[in-house]
Subunit: 261 residues, 2 copies
Amino acid sequence: MRWIKFTTGGKTRHGIVEDDRIIETSGDMFGEWSKTSATHALADVKIEIPVWPPTFYCIGMNYVKHLTEAANARGEVPAVPDRPQVGYRAHNALIAHDEDVVIPRGATEKIHYEGELAVVIGKKAKHLSEADAMSCVFGYTIGNDVSERTWQRADQGLWRAKNADTFKPMGPWIETEADVEKMQTTVCVNGKQTVSFRTNDMLFKIPQFIAEMTRYFTLWPGDVIWMGTDGQSPDIKAGDVVEIGISGVGTLRNRFVAEQT
Amino acid sequence: MRWIKFTTGGKTRHGIVEDDRIIETSGDMFGEWSKTSATHALADVKIEIPVWPPTFYCIGMNYVKHLTEAANARGEVPAVPDRPQVGYRAHNALIAHDEDVVIPRGATEKIHYEGELAVVIGKKAKHLSEADAMSCVFGYTIGNDVSERTWQRADQGLWRAKNADTFKPMGPWIETEADVEKMQTTVCVNGKQTVSFRTNDMLFKIPQFIAEMTRYFTLWPGDVIWMGTDGQSPDIKAGDVVEIGISGVGTLRNRFVAEQT
């Protein structure tokens, strides 16, 4: 099932996508809900951020190829994590499918995409074992972990580099029935493929992260965990359109534009 | 004015504290609101987290004495930041005044408090100058940036060390009329003072941070910025009660307990 949050006629609602139509729902997608009689053409609505996460988790350095290539580019020896370690992103940076990524004034040309699987939590969870970890997962969406690499090297932490306004596109919807093992992540810039990798080629996989996180954290319905990325991005410039497709989930598309002075 | 969020009779509301009573309000504390005829004794209500921040900002290393002492304790040379740099904390960890900080299983004895002034944003803001920066500030509350120092050294990032469930007490209310220049932060453990410092002895002050942050980030009503801490904490153990008082704002009190096995 594909859960979408959308606006039409000035009202924002949830619904289920079937082919090119949305069946409007009432209630709570994580709890009690039902279909209504209202439907909309997918093409006629504005797609919103699919869920506003209580906590916005993000995993770095979770694909060996990506972290090796990134270290090589810096002339460093890659530091491969020996256990799951958890990072975060900031809510101010979230935007929806088809909204514009605004390249801030003062940014260098080193603007990169990172195509990531985003796990959406559906149930309150603490102290889950790896075997039980997937029981709290509601579904999957897609994130673009946009990064300004010059700031990433210059700053303590990732504040400007990854959390500038509009740097965290997420969407277009939440797919509840996809099989992670079968997913392939493919990124296209202006319609031309730049990278493709097996989504589940993760150093530490989703159950390992959920088990480790819930030793210390309560996961809540709507929390998202972005799972990291593989491969390297070319420099993205104003006017470029980046599409991140994950098979079985969907495609997240955003245009990059320059901040107006 | 002191804005409080509280629960009584199973309902959670906002109100204004006057002496030992709460005058219930209706509307939006950041926008249109009015007093109602309902009042409650402060002692009769459960105090809630005063605001749920859209983004939860937190500044590290913003008091020279604290970062020098911390570096000395590690046998390192202190690295004093040369410009404002922004960090974050995680929403899962937030608790209210008088709720318990739960020391997780597996934590070492190196559990420390950090008493911090928390700035509450009241207006949407971007590209503010230092001169205009304070125009977006709604008021002040108090944060305890509880830390597990062994994890802080062992991990990449601050995930377990500072964001374990219950590690971020905030409250008890938001004071809108306090003067930062006159504030003194005083921490007591089990009623005995352990540290006291001038709250505004910050390396980079609130307007400098807001000006730098709003170059890249939109600040939204309810966002909080924890401003860092001074001094060193003794090791805090289960049963201890930590009170962080900031003159003109209030006192945030929390008991520490061990996680039940």
